[in-house]
């Protein structure tokens, strides 16, 4: 097992990884920008290294400085968290080359899955269901039109290197395709320095269902059930839950099997998430694989009792999976609300000093956050400041518990999305589980 791990991230996920390391008896090194010198993740670690100014390109994503920090502190592994360098194949490759273990899949795995069009191709070749779409990257407008005519409108154009909604365009009619293609290409180029785009059928009210998988370096792969992340605003998840209210045992086994086969096709190891669209007829389609820990991983931990970060570290150290598929038992229901430092109506960021921070507690309530009274929410990074997770014997109980916990959560000095979450949880469609990825848009408009 590793003796010392550097956490190449900040905020709650850095603290989450430090907690796992502490429980495993592994020493930790935090890195931070100048803006984060007083952050909790820095104080929680055994050692700390400032790697640059506030701008993440010059600090958290500054590969030479991050690797130098790893060298001078003598760590044997780096945990990238999510975002920043977590899906950077080049970074993983440099880590491999200098003998520092990147806690995640191999750089090849990352590169392969990072090319969304190629990943779909591999999965489709294995005979697994992918969203109907162009076979690979689109070379031209004519290419796009041909593909679109074949699968039928509406279609969605996506960047092959994409994520987070950038470089995406929904097209309803053939005559709009040309302009959308150009726009998506331009946006993809400016955002990802890669103008590759592909297109898929656009589903009108799909659910976003993703499956957590774990794969060891000995070829064994298991899944830990699904997460329903249909409550999104501009492709950013806000509320996640497991089990999905529309996935029954049979569908779970089936979608789980497909997820496992998809990553086996790519000879994938470590943990990952296979994303699917689920349409109204309960048909599911492979979308992509995220080659990192997800923000919403805690809900899977709550229902399985398995510490995903600890497993991820063990797998990176070469340990075989601690579980067989039949050892994985799903208990109850879990819900996560992402608390952002944003105006709950206008979604404008709300950085500043948290004058009072008092998290909820008690049975079935978990808070993952690096905030406390007196913390400063700096304006340079993601606005998510806390994840509130509840667990109950069933969906009804975990919703009631979440409402209770939200009512207790005190964050003063800045605006947060807590009021929005309270409204969502009171919504009768949400309570019945009648949601899709378009839910929030309609909810906010009403």
């Amino acid at each position: 097992m590793f003796k010392k791990v550097l956490i190449a991230n900040r905020g709650e996920i850095a603290l989450r990884v430090i907690r796992a390391c502490k429980e495993l008896g592994i020493a930790t090194v935090a890195i931070h920008s100048e803006a984060d010198a007083l952050s909790l993740h820095v104080r929680a670690a055994d050692e700390k290294v400032c790697v640059g100014p506030a701008d993440s390109a010059l600090s958290y994503r500054n590969i030479p400085n991050v690797l130098s920090a790893a060298e001078i502190t003598g760590v044997d592994a780096i945990h990238p968290g999510y975002g920043f360098l977590s899906e950077n194949a080049h970074f993983a490759e440099v880590c491999e080359s200098i003998g520092i273990k990147f806690i995640g899949p191999s750089s090849e795995n990352i590169a392969l899955m990072g090319d969304k069009a190629k990943a779909r191709e591999i999965v489709a070749k294995r005979g697994l269901p992918v969203t109907p779409g162009s076979p690979g990257e689109l070379r031209s407008e004519e290419d796009a039109l041909q593909a679109a005519m074949k699968i039928g409108f509406p279609v969605i154009i996506k960047a092959t290197a994409g994520g987070g909604g950038r470089g995406m365009r929904v097209v309803n009619r053939a005559e709009d395709l040309g302009r959308a293609f150009q726009a998506a290409q331009a946006e993809a180029k400016s955002t990802f320095s890669n103008d590759g785009v592909y297109l898929e059928r656009y589903f009108l009210e799909p659910r976003h269902i993703e499956v957590q998988i774990m794969a060891d370096q000995h070829g064994r792969v298991i899944h830990l059930g699904e997460r329903d992340c249909s409550i999104q605003r501009r492709h950013q998840k806000l509320v996640e839950e497991t089990p999905s209210p529309v996935v029954d045992d049979k569908l779970r086994r089936e979608i789980g099997r497909v997820a496992v086969e998809a990553v086996k096709a790519a000879h994938y190891s470590n943990i990952g998430t296979v994303e699917f669209l689920l349409d109204k007829d309960q048909k599911f389609y492979f979308m992509e694989v995220n080659t990192r820990i997800q923000v919403e991983h805690p809900i899977t931990e709550m229902v399985t009792g398995i510490d995903l970060i600890k497993e991820q570290i063990r797998l990176a150290a070469g340990h075989p999976l601690s579980f067989r598929q039949q050892d994985v038992v799903f208990t109850g229901h879990s819900l996560e609300c992402r608390i952002n430092a944003e105006d709950p109506e206008k979604f404008t960021p709300s950085p500043g000093v948290i004058t009072k921070y008092s998290p909820p507690g008690g049975f079935g309530v978990r808070v993952d956050s690096a905030m406390e009274s007196g913390s400063t929410v700096v304006p340079y990074y993601d606005s998510m400041i806390a994840k509130l997770i509840t667990h109950g014997r069933n969906r009804q109980e975990s919703i009631a518990r979440m409402k209770r916990a939200l009512s207790e959560f005190v964050i003063e000095g800045i605006k947060t999305t807590i009021p929005l979450h309270r409204r969502i949880l009171d919504d009768s469609d949400f309570q019945k589980g009648h949601v899709s990825t378009t839910f929030l848009e309609r909810f906010l408009a009403s």
Binding site: E34, L38, K48, L67, T355
Partner: protein, 184 residues
Amino acid sequence: MKRRRAKIKTRRMVVPEIVRESKPHASLATGSTKQIQELIDLLRRNNLTELEVERQGTRIRVRHEVLAKPMTASLQESAPASPQQPTQSASATTPALEGATGFVTVTSPIVGTFYRSPSPDADAYVEEGDTVKKGQVLCIVEAMKLMNEIESEVDGHVVKILVENTKSVEYGQPLFLIDPKAAS
């Protein structure tokens, strides 16, 4: 071992006098709230405990106890002390003697290992008390097997060398104090 001149500019940090009043005699009666708010912002930004300004019969003191507490507590209590640990962050370490004097702090622009000489058996680039010219190499910071020469950005003399040879340094860590006034 390959050596390369790093294309890195040294960073210069001159800490401004905390209160640089354009109208030192400006009475508190006019625009006083704004002035105090400025002090409060100053307190916040610098994470201070207390700020007191006294000037020509006017004294302003601002305190903030919540921020003042050393928010370390038991989290750090459990952290084993590490000899390799660079414990100082750029903003926190500007030595007290600098404040009023206008010394220039040369900070590390990268993370790495600090070397005072080009090779183990060579002389140090500079010693305390030496006069240095703008552009003169002060030290090397090694990172990823690359030797990055750190140059002085000013003419002056070396007041203090703040890091021991072969120790690791983090981004923004003060390396040298240079007195630019002493150059002339």
